[in-house]
């Protein structure tokens, strides 16, 4: 068993009719582990399903609707807190999808609120959020310095009443990363939504998702990310036939052609996303597919070797090697000290 069956159901819901009880049990466990149960529930809505599956998916839809409400509310509260700055509050990731009513937001799990503000507004944004009830999650001076110097965001803040996190970014990749998307272009081309917030342009939103898929973390949570890409590309291409061509040229402007090409190939392989023909990278594609699908029938991650390879690789992408060594060393030292 792997996450392949979940991918098939998302891409072709009609295939749900053929599942037996053991397959349902596995798909539900895997969908929950991948935080895709709400998405699956929306995709299968209206199909004749076994009664227990129907009940589980109906509950998942209710849960996703509550998640959506809370995510949008966090955006409202952030916008209110930042109103005095008079700068655009650009919503990123899941919150942007639901605020814009995109297919990618249907049933989507949304964790933290991610927003993008111009780099020169960062200090004022931080002060305004602290003033409005958010506080720092980490008080560790090393982590704090690490975030501020090398990551593309403020240290995460959490609201003391509502217990929800906000990540304030000023670009979509850390300055140390090898590809360097241009934040000025991201902000200049952002699309206003209702209620004083905005989101990235249709091209940039997919570029961000693609960069995020490979650069952030170890591909864990990658299926959800890849599903976003499938939905976004389909919806934007349906609105405008020139979209795929514009996506490719915009990716080149952000030095993100490779990440976007890889993400599109993976999306096509797992979700049948219609994409222009691409040259393949058989070794990379196969390894990434294995990693993305690495779940057993109980929702547990499998293939630990592939996991580790992707983890080291992802840090490598973000940090020059000497800095990586320093980071890992300090992390390790702190861990052993805490243990002792």
């Amino acid at each position: 068993m792997s996450a392949r069956l979940l991918c098939r159901l998302l891409a072709a819901p009609g295939e749900a009719r053929a599942l037996d009880a053991a397959q349902w049990n596995a798909v539900i466990a895997i969908a929950r582990a991948e935080l895709l149960i709400g998405t699956l529930a929306f995709r299968l809505r209206g199909l004749p399903l076994p009664a227990p599956v129907e009940a589980i998916l109906a509950a998942a839809i209710l849960s996703a609707e509550e998640g959506r409400r809370q995510a949008l509310w966090e955006a409202v509260m952030a916008r209110r807190a930042l109103a005095a700055l008079d700068c655009p509050v650009i919503l990123l990731k899941g919150t942007a999808f639901v605020a814009a009513g995109l297919d990618a937001g249907q049933g989507r799990h949304i964790g933290d609120l991610d927003i993008l503000v111009p780099a020169d507004m960062l200090a004022r944004a931080e002060a305004a959020l602290l003033d409005a009830g958010w506080e720092w999650v980490k008080s560790d001076p090393y982590d704090d310095a690490y975030y501020r110097r090398w990551m593309h965001e403020l240290p995460p803040l959490i609201h003391r009443e509502r217990d929800r996190m906000i990540d304030v970014h000023h670009t979509i990749l850390p300055p140390t990363a090898r590809s360097t998307p241009d934040p000025a272009k991201l902000i200049a081309d952002a699309v206003p939504l209702a209620d004083g917030v905005a989101m990235l342009s249709p091209e940039d939103v997919v570029i961000h998702a693609a960069i995020h898929l490979f650069a952030d973390g170890d591909l864990s949570g990658g299926l959800r990310n890849l599903w976003d890409i499938d939905r976004l590309v389909r919806e934007f291409a349906a609105r405008d036939a020139d979209y795929p061509a514009r996506l490719v040229s915009r990716a080149a402007e952000h030095q993100a052609s490779r990440a976007v090409a890889r993400a599109l190939r993976l999306a096509a392989a797992l979700f049948d996303t219609p994409i222009p023909p691409q040259p393949a990278e058989p070794l990379f594609d196969a390894a990434a597919r294995r990693r993305l699908l690495a779940r057993d029938g109980w929702g547990r991650g499998t293939r630990p070797a592939t996991r580790l390879a992707f983890y080291v690789r992802s840090h490598w992408l973000r940090m020059p090697p000497a800095m990586l060594a320093r980071h890992l060393w300090i992390k390790m030292w702190r861990r052993s000290r805490h243990a002792g």
Partner: protein, 283 residues
């Protein structure tokens, strides 16, 4: 996973997978009279797995996992594997349940009318529920009352009753013919022994009931009864619910309806007999 056990408790189906035989064998014995999940499809998956591969064999220690997890849930020694399974099943409901409003409460029923006993650990919910069952009440559950937002009715969740420390002997004396699980000494919660709900409780576990009284018991105080207003009951019950917030407006509607329709009392009691007498007098 190597060993698998599936069971339905009230309206909730579980699939429990384990790296070891023992916890699954214990569940099989104790839940022998229970049905399996409808259509073989479980609502929740529970995993009892070794914290590290070698921990299957050397000082085996059981990590509690499943569809829904707490990042900092401490593993338990294999000797407490049954407790790990019960905790993991409760955790799935506590974190994942969205159909029913969950109240952290014990419930007993007689003549279609239910009494819901809620309070923090140590308030004596499980003990009182077991003792009331010994006096002919139907045991609906000792951990969660499941309130249906559509009907306002309480659904049963009669899992094994978890008895701790001194309560073990008290309940054994009251229910000499009942079946009990193994004694697990020295767990993080003290000594624990599970009581198997009787045949009536299992046979009627699909039958919901209307709550006619809500009781906030408190053990170890001089006997006292006090009427609790709907506002106070609302505040205390939202704190005793793990999924009130997650249910959104359905939760709000179900909770306000519950506290308006169910008279509530706070009950301080010095010993179980006093509490039982007070509850039966009111019920």
């Amino acid at each position: 996973m190597r060993h698998v056990f599936s069971v339905r408790i009230g309206p909730v189906g579980f699939r429990v997978g384990s790296d070891w035989r023992a916890p699954v064998a214990a569940l099989r014995t104790l839940y022998a009279g229970y049905p399996t999940p409808d259509d073989g499809i479980a609502d929740y998956n529970v995993r009892l797995s070794a914290t590290r591969p070698w921990r299957r064999f050397i000082r085996p220690s059981v990590a509690i996992a499943g569809d829904y997890m707490l990042p900092d849930a401490a593993p338990l020694p294999l000797a407490h594997g049954l407790l790990a399974a019960e905790m993991a099943m409760n955790l799935q409901l506590a974190l994942g349940e969205r159909r029913f409003l969950l109240l952290h409460a014990a419930t007993v029923e007689r003549g279609g009318e239910a009494i819901v006993l809620t309070g923090e650990s140590g308030a004596g919910k499980s003990t009182l529920a077991a003792l009331l069952a010994a006096r002919g009440w139907r045991l609906m559950g000792d951990e969660f009352a499941l309130v249906d937002p559509e009907t306002g009715l309480v659904h049963a969740f009669p899992r094994l009753v978890s008895l701790k420390n001194a309560a073990i002997a008290v309940v054994r004396a009251a229910l000499p013919a009942a079946r009990f699980g193994p004694l697990m000494a020295g767990t993080p919660k003290g000594d624990i022994r599970h009581l198997v709900p009787d045949d009536t409780a299992v046979a009627a576990m699909q039958v919901p009931a209307r709550a006619v009284r809500l009781v906030f018991p408190r053990f170890g105080f001089a006997a006292e009864r006090r009427t609790v207003g709907a506002g106070e009951a609302f505040v205390r019950l939202t704190q005793a619910s793990t999924n009130y917030v997650a249910l959104g407006e359905r939760g709000f509607a179900a909770m306000t309806r519950f506290v308006r329709e169910t008279p509530a009392m706070a009950l301080d009691y010095p010993d179980a007999d006093a509490a039982i007498a007070a509850i039966e007098a009111e019920g």
